[in-house]
């Protein structure tokens, strides 16, 4: 059973590499994860528009394919930047990359077969 405590996480060398010491509100928002979040919201709006006849793509099939690809790009970004797998050991990082690629291809394949 783990008993040791981490008195002040920011002083631990292990924490510092992945989690810098955030001391001000400006530092709090200044991260790649914040930029990724803005992209995720914008991508959601675009997908919603494409899927509800507010879109700019006439072909329903093309719009649906774009929506599917965008969905898995979003999944990849959540995995890499929110779950912090960007800096995970390579096998774990490869797992999220492979998941996005394989499941995206499978869903597109099943969609096109329909």
């Amino acid at each position: 059973m783990e008993t040791s405590t981490t008195p002040a996480p920011s002083t631990s060398e292990t924490f510092d590499a992945a989690h810098p010491d955030v001391r001000t509100p400006a530092e709090l928002l200044r991260s790649s994860a914040s930029a990724v979040w803005v992209f995720l919201v914008l991508a959601t709006v675009v997908s919603w528009a494409l899927g509800t006849d507010h879109g700019f793509v006439e072909s329903t099939r093309t719009a649906s394919l774009i929506v599917l690809v965008v969905a898995f790009v979003k999944v990849r970004f959540v995995g890499l930047y929110f779950m912090e797998l960007k800096d995970a050991p390579l096998p774990l990082r490869a797992l999220i990359e492979a998941y996005c690629l394989v499941v995206c291809c499978l869903t597109i394949g099943f969609y096109l077969a329909g």
Partner: protein
């Protein structure tokens, strides 16, 4: 017990200043569970689209009954809640007591967004039932209720987990084991978000 010291340095000859420390967020076991769950849902995605092949017209007709706006609002709610958890993970390490004290506030905000998702999902289900639509109505609605229901179940588990993280975040210090659990819990919450990022387009938008 696995702890946050678990890390593997990349085999690289780059100078130390540019070398990135690779580490597993949370515990190894957490990732077996998370990826296992994601694979189960991947099978569901394929099963849903496979069922669509035999009745594309029926699926399109039923999908037109859905309220895409509810789905889109719920997506944004989960994205906001995920952002709050990202911010929590950033301030939990802060040496500034004021910033560190924001951790439970951010977790509470994430919890409220998750609860908001459930409220909207409740409205959505009520609207369907009011129009006489149930899982027995058609194959499409069977998949709709089962997939969104399973996701909602994960969300309820996530909300319970956030309560635990909220209590933990109020402690002045966390042991390494506690911190690994904390990080794993955050990743589980992101997984709930991640699954919805596929379910929403798949069920509501793909025509």
């Amino acid at each position: 017990m696995t702890d946050i010291d678990l890390e593997a340095r990349p085999a690289t000859t780059s100078p130390p200043s540019t070398r990135r420390t690779r580490r597993i967020p949370g515990e190894e076991g957490t990732w077996i569970f998370i990826f296992g769950d994601m694979c189960v849902f991947a099978v569901f995605f394929c099963v849903f689209l496979h069922a669509r092949i035999s009745d594309p017209v029926g699926f399109a007709r039923d999908q037109a009954e859905l309220n895409q706006n509810f789905g889109a609002i719920n997506t944004v709610l989960l994205l906001v809640s995920s952002l709050f958890i990202v911010l929590t993970m950033r301030v939990i390490h802060s040496s500034n007591a004021v910033m560190r004290a924001k951790a439970p506030v951010f977790i509470a905000a994430a919890w409220l967004c998750g609860a908001g998702f459930l409220v909207i999902k409740g409205f959505e289900y009520a609207e369907k039932v009011h129009h006489g639509i149930t899982p027995q109505t058609s194959d499409f609605f069977m998949y709709y209720f089962v997939l969104t229901g399973l996701h909602a179940f994960h969300l309820v588990l996530g909300l319970a987990l956030l309560v635990v993280l909220f209590v933990m975040s109020r402690k002045p210090e966390l042991s390494k084991g506690q911190f690994a659990f904390f990080e794993g819990g955050a990743c589980f919450w992101h997984m709930v978000d991640l699954l919805w990022l596929v379910l929403f387009p798949l069920i509501f938008l793909v025509r």
